[in-house]
Amino acid sequence: MSDAREPVTGIEAPVYLQYQFTAGRAPSRFLSALKQGRLTGQRCPGCSQVYIPPRGACPACGIATEEEVTLSNKATVQSFTIVYIPIPGNPIKPPYIVANLVPDGANISFIHLLSECVNEEVHIGQRVEAVWKPEAEWDYKMDNILYYKPLEEPDVPVEMIGKLGVDGLEGKQS
């Protein structure tokens, strides 16, 4: 039979596996605070760095980050990009800004959106503030914060980004 010699170039074998996912003890504390409208980090007892979002360990020291730190709604732009292309499944209309932001009181950045701004004027060291959803919509989610918007505050010098205390440039520390 000739069709027996047809090469089989693929078979369909879909895999469905179900998991009861858990975020972890440390991420759970972060998500719970987020649901209450608070942005929190965790401090490493070894090197004092404050991590957001906390994952349970200081990757630099390899030890648990137990101490909870409430962070400011104010943050500094560490880096950013202007997205001009539509991303499949993303409801946000280009062009929009994705930025690395360091909230005051933390030592590493996390990624969020920047809006209510003139895209061309966004720059590293710029001060921004979180715009939260209405309280009724808060959940265990990062998008409780809709986006960050620019603040009328002096820029943070590059060497100071990631080093501000929770009171910002004024109460500089840590």
Binding site: A13, Y19, T22, G24, R25, A57, A60, I63
Partner: protein, 356 residues
């Protein structure tokens, strides 16, 4: 083994409790206490103080691609360290580390294995390790495959159901002295045989439980172990062999791969005081004891083995750790540790550990 081969010393080991569910705890949070424990045993700060780190885990258990990378957060990898990973039980991470040290690329190594198996349906998740064209699409689970194997054993007259129950009874009894065990207690063979079949001829107790947890170990050259000044045992031999992925071409009532690995690791070169065997199903302990040539003089699975608690991706390493602990404590002078992977004991590793 060449004459110049460097002897390997096992210096530290620790294992977590076997928990039916670790709850909200994530993998990093499971690993950290184990790594801390072995570091403290040796008096080291973190992974910066060893030459090489190797871990064993399986992303399928977690249901997330590259999930193993998060484990590195538990190490203190700043500045960068030399690190590797096997998508296997950490007994094979130990094997990789032994090679690294034997080749002279490292004098010391940290090894760890971890898994949270409880979030998924473990026997079904493991069906996806079968060949992808014929068996995986049938979703044949690990318990069913083990049951086929036990049926072959029974029909061939190589074991009885009472033999299987006796393995379970001894495991539960021994596990009473193991603070990390999940299942322990005095249960008679008669009461076990009175239980209903689960996947026949297996009863529930013939199958290891699903457990969450981690274990860690530190090994080094003998010179390094002496410099650390801690008690150690010698890893005299280690070898692993694998059989075909086609179950139908294997004699499932025996374990030729274990037999070969045992020969290469030198199991028969001396008396075996203690053996820790990775037998997830009761009948498999009997297959393994026979393949390893163990006799009356050997205490088999004094920890209770994995029937008392099975940390996927860590249980193999823990078998070596259990033997190490008994040798360092003076309970035994020479022991054999075994690790397995794949369905029906497809892939087997055998290690010989001796008093220094």
């Amino acid at each position: 083994m060449s004459v110049q081969a460097r002897d390997i010393a096992i210096v530290a080991f620790h294992q977590s409790d076997c928990q039916a569910s670790a709850g909200a705890t994530n993998e990093v949070e499971l690993i950290m206490p184990e790594i801390r424990a072995v570091m403290d045993q040796v008096g080291l700060r973190n992974a910066q103080d060893v030459d090489f780190v190797c871990s064993g885990s399986c992303d399928y258990l977690q249901g997330a691609a590259f999930a193993f990378v998060a484990g590195v957060d538990a190490l203190g990898a700043v500045p960068p360290i030399r690190e590797s990973h096997v998508e296997m039980d950490a007994a094979w991470a130990l094997y990789e580390s032994v090679l690294k040290i034997r080749m002279g690329h490292a004098d010391s190594a940290l090894i760890y294995g971890f898994a949270k198996s409880s979030p998924g349906e473990l026997p079904i998740v493991l069906s996806q390790q079968l060949d992808p064209y014929y068996l995986a699409p049938l979703w044949v689970d690990t318990v069913s495959l083990a049951a086929l194997q036990a049926r072959l054993m029974l029909d061939a007259g190589k074991i009885t159901e009472a033999d299987m129950a006796a393995v379970v009874s001894r495991s539960r009894h021994n596990a009473m002295n193991n603070p990390h065990a999940q299942l322990a207690g005095e249960v008679s063979v008669e009461s076990l045989l009175a239980q209903q079949h689960f996947v026949s001829p297996l009863r529930r107790h013939d199958c290891c439980p699903v457990s969450d947890g981690a274990s860690a170990m530190i090994i080094a050259t003998v010179e390094q172990a002496k410099a650390w000044g801690k008690p150690y045992a010698i890893l005299r031999g280690i070898d692993h062999r694998i059989e075909s992925h086609n179950l139908c071409t294997r004699d499932l009532t025996e374990s030729p791969s274990t037999r070969r690995a045992a020969e290469a690791a030198g199991v028969a070169d001396g008396a075996v005081d203690v053996a820790e065997l990775y037998a997830p199903f009761s009948h498999q302990e009997i297959i393994l004891s026979r393949a390893l040539g163990l006799g009356e003089g050997t205490s088999v699975n004094p920890s209770g083995g994995v029937l008392a608690g099975n940390l996927m991706m860590a249980s193999g390493l823990s078998r070596v750790g259990e033997v190490f602990q008994r040798i360092v404590s003076g309970e035994a002078r020479r022991g054999v540790a075994h690790a397995t992977s794949g369905p029906c004991l497809q892939h087997n590793l055998v290690a010989v550990v001796e008093a220094a």
